[in-house]
Symmetry: C2
Subunit: 203 residues, 2 copies
DNA sequence: ACTTTAAACACTCACAAAGTTTCCAAATTA
DNA sequence: TAATTTGGAAACTTTGTGAGTGTTTAAAGT
């Protein structure tokens, strides 16, 4: 493994575990068993390291999502599998990491959020098309509209000041959002399938 | 509820959720709906607030432990119930909070750790006496020695550089430590009881 | 032996935030 | 109602951490 990749992985681990502000470049250099001077041969500055490691995380996560989607046998199962994956992933996200990203690296956060939205929108559009072809989703649905509605709900689910934040925890929020979403878009046939499988949603 | 108590509770929530360094006095004042000037009427400085809120947490936790112990029907059940409680409590402890305490408030951390050890030692000593009287623990056990061994294991369980840190997660560490400890100190009768109940240890 | 590399650590400086002060509106008291 | 007190909002000063750079020197490589 290349040192530069190892650096991203280790930095990401530390940022995710302890938050970003608390982890100094001295800490990272020490963790990597190298001097700070050497560390700066790999990254321009801390901002660069933060952005690179966050992008690395996004890339890994996107690939994991694609693998999950590739294993799902129909559109509803895709949504349930992705929800399950998202719940697992968010369990590893330390609130302080998000807090620090928003507070100290707002541009990086915005870019990350934009990329994430583009990816989610793409997944939802594909999923709607797939669901229509399966006969599980209502044929009159507009991919664009549903994707925008879904993103609205997902944005609210991670916003500490939203109505949704009052729910018990993130797993419960996602569960409710998925339940709502799938009921909104399924045909009668789709709903029969949904009733049989939603209890398997892994919390 | 008194404002000063509410301040401790809210501060503790924020520190536990986002870490200590990331949460500024501005953030706390804003969260409390008061100005920084008013905030400083309640605490001397940030250090004071951190120490007070950590002590508050310790006091609450100690009381919860005492309640748990009061409901246990014998010495082994006490240990299993406390382990379960500790696992639940540690699930809420953000690694970044501990990291920040150790890094930026070492004296406060040391004092907190000392108090915690004294409390644990006291619980273990009582538990050993209780277990001997029940006939569940070996009569030749020395309370002092066993308490010291147990503290050694507990210290290692929260030290990121220890051998124990290689285990999967904290719940697993505690489970293994409790299993080990109880096997070490039980009589034949105690071990029969233990086999029947250790699977109920809440992970 | 000579050259290159990188660790360890010293150093400078920027900047965030701790803590203090000011202004002024709101609340309380007489 | 007027006077006094209180506390919010924000400006301000100070402090200290840590980002990033530079130096020394030992270790590694040729």
């Amino acid at each position: 493994m290349e040192t530069s990749e190892k650096l991203l992985i280790r930095s990401l681990e530390m940022f995710m575990r302890y938050g970003i502000k608390s982890v100094s470049m001295d800490d990272i250099a020490s963790e990597m068993g190298m001097s700070k001077k050497t560390l700066y041969q790999y990254v321009k500055d801390k901002r660069d390291l933060v952005n690179q490691s966050v992008n690395y995380h996004f890339t890994q996560d996107r690939e994991a999502c694609s693998r999950v989607l590739g294993h799902s046998s129909n559109a509803i199962e895709q949504m349930l599998d992705i929800a399950s994956h998202v719940i697992q992933m968010m369990r590893q996200m330390n609130p302080s990491t998000i807090y620090d990203l928003r507070k100290y690296y707002p541009e990086g956060w915005k870019k990350f959020e934009e990329h994430r939205k583009v990816f989610i929108v793409s997944c939802i559009r594909d999923n709607i098309q797939n669901g229509k072809e399966n006969g599980l989703y209502r044929p009159e649905l507009s991919e664009d509209v549903i994707a925008k509605i879904y993103i609205t709900l997902i944005d609210a689910s991670v916003n500490p000041t939203s109505e949704l934040a009052e729910l018990q925890n993130y797993s419960e929020i996602i569960r409710q959002v998925i339940d709502y979403h799938l009921h909104a878009i399924t045909t009668h046939e789709g709903r029969e399938y949904l009733y049989k499988h939603i209890e398997a949603l892994n919390l």
